[in-house]
């Protein structure tokens, strides 16, 4: 099987697993996020805390053990220094998150659960991303900022 096909299958499966957990935990509901951000309900904070609490130590152990990943060489984690755009972007993101009551991945689950207005959210997300990309490419001739939470271009790997 071609490496790109394997990547596609793994992408689909893990995307489905991620979407499944989001849907199962009701993170696709406006009220869940609104109650969380109104500090009325701490479930989602607990959920994120446990997700980090599970993955952080495991990744640290695997990193130290120089574990080989199945499709892309030795496990490498990225740890960027804090820059202005991380913080300013985060502050802007938080405003939009509070207004639209969903974040990028749950917005997809929201639409898939039958919520029609989520289509507006998803369209807006594409527009917002596009605006930022247009701005950065004007400023730096095609270079787009990448962060530790986004896709990264790894050297010598079939992705």
């Amino acid at each position: 099987m071609k490496s790109s096909t394997k990547f596609n299958i793994i992408g689909l499966l893990f995307g489905a697993g991620f979407g499944f957990v989001l849907g199962a935990a009701n993170l696709h509901e406006y009220t869940t996020i609104h109650n969380m951000l109104s500090l009325e309900e701490f479930d989602v904070f607990g959920l994120m805390g446990l997700a980090i609490g599970t993955s952080l130590p495991l990744l640290a152990i695997f990193e130290r053990a120089k574990v080989k990943t199945v499709l892309a060489g030795t496990l490498s984690l990225s740890r960027s220094k804090v820059q202005k755009h991380h913080v300013v972007g985060g502050a802007i993101f938080g405003i939009g998150w509070a207004v639209s009551g969903t974040c990028p991945a749950p917005a997809l689950v929201m639409l898939a659960s039958g919520a029609g207005l989520a289509a507006v959210t998803i369209a807006g997300l594409f527009v917002g991303l596009g605006l930022r990309d247009a701005q950065t490419s004007r400023a730096a001739g095609g270079a787009v900022t990448q962060g530790d939470g986004e896709h990264r271009t790894t050297v010598g790997v079939g992705n």
């Binding site: 991620f18 807006g124 990309d133």
Partner: protein, 183 residues
Amino acid sequence: MYGHFWPVLPFRYRQVASELGVLMDLLPDRLPWFIAGPLLGLLVVGFFLFTNQPLGATGAYAETSKAVRRVPGAVVWRVWYFVGIALGGFIAVSLKETGFDPRSGYDILTQSGEGNFGLSLPVAALVIFVGAVVMGYGARMSGGCTSGHGICGTAQRSPASWAAMMTFMASAVATTFIINQVV
């Protein structure tokens, strides 16, 4: 018995399944956070062990956008990942009692009464759209969103992701506080 019109079949699939004796109510209305959290953590670790990549959604939007616009160099598997999120979500809600439920999804905004915003549908759609544009712009500028920075970046012990997460949490809580004051 299923309706004679095939387009309604997707919306009647639970009825069809129950008549065929397929078990559909496997999930509770809401999977408890202390189960969903570790599951999500294991997915993040598993994804790293396969692809050496963070399980973030912002990157999936960016690559899907590129693929749709036929920009060369789009990462196709991120598109599959994008589709997978919707598919997995659909499966999850299908296994609940409510099932796929055609609705606006923003009842708090569109309905009137105590605790609701009472906006008309076009105004609500505009508010949501503007919010989503702001969110997309911010996520791209920051280099990740709730999943990318908030879980995958923090789990990599990235200072940038921890800073981004604490900032967007604070900004979202502050914005929600203001929204709740106005309403």
